[in-house]
């Protein structure tokens, strides 16, 4: 596949000191009205991005859309209510005198107990009109669950695409405070009984009966301790072909090997995955994950085209950074002509638990990704 066909072939990603190197001049060169969208969570990294960006000063509004989500009375996350309150207090102090904080409550369950968080967060931002007074939207996904930020970002890109067609360019940035050690210590608890396709991408279309004869390709982006999720997703997708994506290069050079060992039973004994099916992508570059996914999916689509094409299920089971790559690939392929049916298979959980000793962790690294707006307007 030609790289020219990729929407995010040329991408914008900055990390660590380059994060500062980008944002400081960006916020100061001209007036920028910024809306931060972030989740009210217990993760200590919740305010890192906002803190840093506000410290750079600059003219213009600095408002916050705070997404409050309740995972149910029995969620283990309630054990960390004090940490969440501390985060909210810190956020209030940071924004005081600079802008306003608007709370938006996301219902996570329907009256009958079905998961509706993804649909509700998408409904929360109905049209691009509500962003008209901002030049830049910064979504901080550090304290947002995957089941919320992936559909949210898909919706925002879709809204800004419509706007762009009308000749307006609004900037959409995603920032995340990333730390493998902290991510590794946060464990999902109370998994849903079965996996489902995430709203915001092909969900119903993947389950369509009329296309059931098309082969299904499953590309799980593997991360640690996801065996239960992997089993549930496999039983949902029931794939004809499995192509696991492993991190390489990665901070720990043996990360890919460790994952292959961790899931050896399932991948090699049970599913008989061919070693040549394994895809590798850089651990900390979501656009590389996106590129590798696009390349593989387009290859399958091309090869199976004469037989009616294929359907693809992606699963983001690794870091938040990698999941952005998954989101971008699923978003773009679903809007191509001809459209490729790509869904994101996912297992929701009731909450999170912090595991392991509270010893010193390496300081998290701030990443920023620019997904839509001025830099792509050529």
């Amino acid at each position: 596949m030609s790289q020219d066909l990729l929407r995010w072939r040329d991408y914008f990603l900055r990390a660590d000191e380059h994060f500062d190197g980008f944002w400081q001049p960006f916020l100061n060169e001209t007036r920028r009205d910024v809306l931060f969208v972030l989740g009210a969570g217990f993760d200590a990294r919740m305010c890192d991005g906002v803190d840093k960006l506000l410290s750079f000063g600059g003219e213009g509004a600095r408002d916050v859309a705070l997404l409050c989500f309740d995972e149910g009375a029995d969620s283990h996350s309630h054990s960390y209510v004090e940490q969440r309150e501390a985060n909210l207090e810190r956020l209030a102090q940071l924004v005081e005198g600079r802008g306003t904080i608007g709370r938006r409550t996301i219902a996570m369950f329907s009256d009958e107990g079905r998961r509706i968080g993804a649909r509700k967060i998408v409904e929360e931002f109905r049209s691009y009109a509500e962003f008209r007074c901002y030049t830049d939207i910064v979504v901080d996904i550090s304290a947002l669950p995957r089941g919320l930020y992936m559909p949210l970002l898909a919706k925002l890109i879709a809204l800004f695409d419509v706007e762009e067609n009308a000749g307006e360019h609004r900037n959409l940035h995603v920032i995340v405070s990333h730390s493998s050690a902290t991510d590794g210590s946060i464990v999902e608890e109370g998994l849903e009984e079965s996996a489902s396709y995430l709203f915001g991408f092909a969900a119903a279309s993947l389950e369509s009966d009329s296309t059931s004869s098309q082969p299904k390709i499953w590309i799980p982006v593997l991360g640690k301790r996801q065996k239960l999720q992997l089993e549930k997703i496999h039983s949902l997708v029931s794939p004809d072909e499995v192509c696991p994506l492993l991190p390489s290069p990665s901070q720990d050079p043996r990360e890919g090997d460790s994952l292959a060992i961790e899931y050896r039973d399932m991948l090699f004994d049970q599913l008989r995955v061919e070693p040549r099916n394994i895809i590798y992508a850089a651990e900390s570059n979501p656009f590389e994950v996106y590129r590798q996914l696009m390349r593989s999916i387009m290859h399958y689509q091309q090869a199976l085209g004469p037989l009616g094409g294929c359907k693809v299920a992606l699963s983001a089971m690794s870091s938040k950074l990698a999941s952005i790559g998954v989101m971008l690939a699923a978003y773009e392929l679903g809007r191509r002509d001809p459209k490729v049916v790509v869904g994101v298979a996912h297992v929701e959980s009731q909450g999170y638990r912090i595991e392991g000793a509270a010893g010193p962790c390496p300081a998290p690294t701030l990443f920023t990704m620019w997904l839509c707006g001025e830099c792509y307007a050529a």
Partner: protein
């Protein structure tokens, strides 16, 4: 099929690749639970806990599997199955006689409920989607039984018009390709409504007012090569519990009101806290449908043991086919061959236990003349060492019982041998057996019959447990050792199976920690009640019960709103039932009242040293169960146990 070293690891129908392998592994015992008119009568509601075998049953009737059955009819593997299927009218000597269309309800339908459409439109779209899938299924099935390819040979199928079978958007008559295109358009239109990120603008298919597909099937509108397809249609809905409440009601209403000639089966998980309206409401009664509760049927018809025996032996045979001489070719002998505590290897331990128990009985009866004859009779007991041990332990229980009653009645008359004979029933011996295992460490949970009981009438659980045992036999065979498992080794493996089941529960399920606390409390309660010296509920209890009135309170939304703890407990109980840790029975009548029984899954019984039979429980007030869920079990004072 992929080489499967241990075929017991293929636990679900979905995990078996080919129809041929599915048939080789399928245990046809479940067909004994179906009524004779299952394929011609009223709609059938098939209910069980997860893993009860519903999906396998539905899969058996799919066209490709039945086609395989007919093709393999002379094979010994399917001989009995063919007889049963013929008696139900599913196959004849040369042909498939019923064409089934299987619709998994978890697919797409629940998402449609969350789009936020108005009730009537949501219902119309639901029925349209079901219609599209049923019609597609009918076309696919027709080609499969003619040994043709879908969709390549669709031009040979036509859909004729019928007086009351008009379908919006589909001009009849037309050929199969046009029908497929129509179904695709309807499906895609509805999928787009579900998947769109932008607010729905009201466009898309208009939907259907009724299940029009059933009318077409009733009118024999499907033609193949210009002739009507002479068949009986069977439409099966799997996982009905996944539908939204309004969807389920709409589907039931459509099926019942239309009184279709096509047969409809609806498989759903038994959810003791929500589904009692099934045949209780005005809309649905016994005339409208028949309920087959698999666990109940297994119990009533006493067919579970032979059914799982067949399943186990089929899987063992498949392993032998793969591994050749290195694997045992039958399952039951691997666990029954050495399942005898009378064997020489147990004599020393049994003798020690016998001496201890006899010594205790002598002390209990010392100086009490009323037990003299009982002691004499027991001392003269014939039988193996093991039988003698159980007999003495039973006597100890009976003396304990009598001495407690005696204190109440002051009856000091000598007790006769007839009285001993009357009181010394199998329940007392069962309790004695259990007590001995707890006190002296004799294995209790071993052998095929106990294994079948540990499965709690759940096929998947049985296959899982049997698979754990078989794994060990396979390993022994590889090392050229006898594949038979000793009783103590079997018990160890089965206890470990419990650990594996609960280990990940907090991660695996909602409210997992709370569920664990609650079932642990129920287990401890049952243990305390069971292991009293006089064994008052011999052989013991393994369940609790609340009155149906309290159950009504528990599931009442208004009560739940008033009392959040009630709501939390109802959710916890829902998770415990959904994950098959508890097994519920509704409307159990006792002492002039009706109860909801909550039995522990039998897999939990080894942990608390409980018996495996059904029927023994203790009623507890709802508030007490709620306290257990919140704070764990607090041991009861002796007098409150009785």
């Amino acid at each position: 099929m992929k080489d499967v070293r241990n075929p017991f690891r293929l636990q679900t129908a979905e995990s078996i690749d080919s129809d041929g392998d599915f048939l080789r592994l399928f245990g046809h015992g479940v067909l004994d639970l179906l009524p004779n008119d299952a394929l011609t009568g009223r709609p059938l509601f098939i209910r069980s806990a997860p893993g009860g075998g519903k999906t396998s049953l539905l899969k058996l009737f799919t066209p490709s599997v039945l086609q395989h059955v007919v093709a393999m009819k002379s094979s010994v593997d399917v001989k009995d199955l063919v007889i049963k299927l013929k008696s139900l009218g599913a196959v004849s000597d040369h042909d498939v006689s019923v064409l089934s269309i299987m619709l998994p309800c978890a697919r797409t339908f629940p998402s449609l409920a969350d789009v936020g459409l108005k009730g009537p439109r949501a219902k119309r779209l639901l029925l349209a989607l079901i219609d599209a899938r049923i019609i597609l299924g009918a076309l696919r099935g027709t080609l499969i039984v003619k040994r043709l390819r879908f969709p390549d040979d669709l031009h040979r199928v036509t859909l004729e018009s019928s007086p009351d079978g008009q379908i919006p958007g589909l001009l009849l008559p037309c050929d199969g390709r046009a029908v497929q295109q129509w179904a695709e358009t309807v499906e895609q239109g509805i999928c787009d409504i579900i998947d769109t990120l932008m607010p729905a603008d009201g466009t898309g298919p208009t939907g259907h007012d009724a299940l029009l597909s059933l009318r077409l099937l009733d009118a024999n509108s499907v033609y193949f090569d210009g002739k009507p397809v002479e068949t009986r249609w069977l439409v099966t809905f799997d996982d009905m519990q996944k539908l939204a409440v309004a969807q389920r009601a709409a589907l039931l209403e459509a099926v019942v009101e239309q009184r279709s000639r096509s047969t409809v089966w609806m498989a759903e998980r038994f959810e003791a806290l929500t589904t009692d309206e099934l045949l209780g409401s005005g809309a649905l009664n016994g005339r409208d449908g028949q309920v087959i509760a698999l666990e109940h049927e297994w119990k009533e018809k006493r067919r579970f043991d032979p059914a799982v025996r067949l399943i186990a032996d089929r899987r063992a045979r498949m392993a032998a086919d793969v591994a050749g001489a290195n694997a045992p070719d039958a399952f039951v002998p691997t666990i029954d061959a050495e399942a005898d505590l009378d064997a020489q290897t147990w004599h020393e331990k049994t003798q020690i236990a016998l001496d201890v128990v006899r010594g205790r009985v002598d002390s209990l009866a010392k100086g009490k003349n009323q037990y003299t004859e009982w002691l004499t009779v027991r001392a003269a007991t014939d039988g193996t060492l093991r039988e003698q041990l159980i007999a003495w332990r039973s006597l100890e229980i009976l003396i304990e019982r009598h001495s407690r009653k005696k204190q109440l009645s002051f009856a000091l008359e000598p007790l006769s041998r007839d009285e001993l004979h009357d009181k010394d029933g199998s329940d007392v011996r069962g309790a004695a057996d259990l007590f001995l295992s707890k006190e002296f460490g004799f294995p209790y949970y071993f052998g095929f019959s106990k294994l079948a009981s540990l499965a709690s009438y759940n096929i998947e659980q049985f296959i899982q447990l049997a698979g754990d045992l078989f794994e060990e036999s396979l390993a022994a065979a590889v090392m050229r050792r006898p594949p038979h498992l000793t009783p103590d080794r079997q018990e160890k493996i089965l206890r470990e199976a419990y650990n594996v089941r609960v280990r990940d529960l907090p991660r695996r399920a909602r409210n997992g920690r709370e569920v664990l606390r609650f079932i642990d409390a129920v287990g401890q309660f049952c243990q305390q009640v069971t292991h009293q010296p006089n064994a008052p509920y011999s052989p013991g209890i393994n369940g609790v019960a609340i009155s149906m009135q309290e159950r009504k309170t528990l599931i009442d939304p208004k009560e739940q709103e008033r009392n959040p703890a009630l709501k939390a407990f109802a959710e916890l109980l829902g998770t415990a039932l959904a994950n098959n840790f508890l097994h519920a029975e509704l409307d159990y009548k006792v002492k002039g009242n009706t109860f909801m029984l909550l039995y522990l899954n039998r897999l939990l019984c080894p942990r608390y040293q409980l018996p495996l039979g059904f029927g023994s429980f203790r009623e507890r007030p709802l508030r007490e169960l709620m306290t257990w869920a919140e704070k764990g079990f607090r041991p009861l004072k002796a007098e409150t146990l009785l």
